[in-house]
Symmetry: C2
Subunit: 200 residues, 2 copies
């Protein structure tokens, strides 16, 4: 078996297998695809991988991933610098930007409090958030952590840290997902939708 | 939206998206995983990609992917050099090697005849196969192309090319997959299993 596969091939299969959600079958499929594809395809991917870390850093203000510091969002004078959306991950910034409904700034925590995984508040950018709120006259914080145990714990911790500092704190609404079917919605979401019902 | 994602990140997402079976969502998930993972993970993947093409070539005898030419299988004196298994792809060599039931050599066609995709016999290593059979006193050819229209067409074409050259030609058996359930087996496979039934 091992004889049939040359080392450069097994090494790439190994490297692909280390990615989340990529099993050994997918890894070898990708590798053999690249073997047949023009050299350029694998070389461009290699270059992009090399540049990923060397050309990016965290914004020293919001901790989103950026090339320039501060990031384009933080340095955009047209955005409302007094409102912060607190998110867990850079991908959440993208998701909120896609709505075009938010024109404040962000604060990326880089995770959520998770005692099971040994992630405490100190591992997140919560201290930096508190400092930022005090320094920059932030008036509202929209806590946009994920709707779940860890996101809720993180939201509660942040609320506790900021209470009495004169900043309005809100959380994203819970309820039925648009286009969802009541029949298939889980009970917790349905209960939240009931509790949060609005007048017509 | 575009502002929220720095260029090195979008470039890697683009490169990943070009791989088969990787959509834009998976591509960004992989990219953000790599951003958080130690530098080493992305650098090793980049290195493996760079080495993939530069350190491998096709074996000049069997056309499998190899570092040394001839490949370790073709240069293994303990294997039977008079029996060739003809396969479509290098991955098929691996699959057959895994069975440990075949000790002959291979011949990798790099595809199958497919008029729909514009792949004719000249695009495959069929001419090389015919030459090899004549030069090396090959006594048996096991045609192990995929069981399907294209694999069948390729097998028939090879048979036509080699008929009368004094070489025994066989194909892999068709029938029920081991562990399969007759109830769920497709009719074509079941018909083949009936036709190919063996005495107990």
């Amino acid at each position: 078996m091992s004889k049939a596969i040359p080392e450069p091939v097994t090494k790439l299969i190994d490297s692909f297998s280390r990615l989340p959600g990529v099993g050994p079958k997918t890894a070898s499929r990708l590798t053999y695809y690249l073997l047949r594809a023009p050299d350029e395809v694998s070389l461009k991917l290699a270059e992009a991988l090399n540049n990923l870390k060397s050309q990016t850093r965290y914004c020293s203000s919001c901790y989103n991933i950026t090339v320039e510091d501060p990031c384009p969002i933080c340095s955009d004078a047209r955005r409302d610098h007094h409102v912060l959306a607190v998110v867990e991950e850079p991908l959440d910034v993208m998701a909120l930007e896609r709505t075009s409904q938010f024109d404040g700034l962000y604060h990326v925590l880089h995770g959520a409090i998770s005692p099971v995984n040994g992630v405490g508040p100190d591992a997140l950018r919560i201290r930096e958030l508190v400092e930022r709120v005090q320094k920059n006259a932030v008036t509202e914080i929209i806590i946009a952590t994920n709707p779940g145990m860890e996101g809720d714990a993180t939201a509660m911790y942040i609320q506790k840290e900021l209470v009495g500092k004169g900043v309005k704190m809100t959380r994203l609404a819970r309820g039925l997902p648009v286009g969802g079917d009541i029949e298939y919605v889980d009970t917790v979401t349905l209960s939240r939708a009931l509790q949060g019902r609005s007048e017509m």
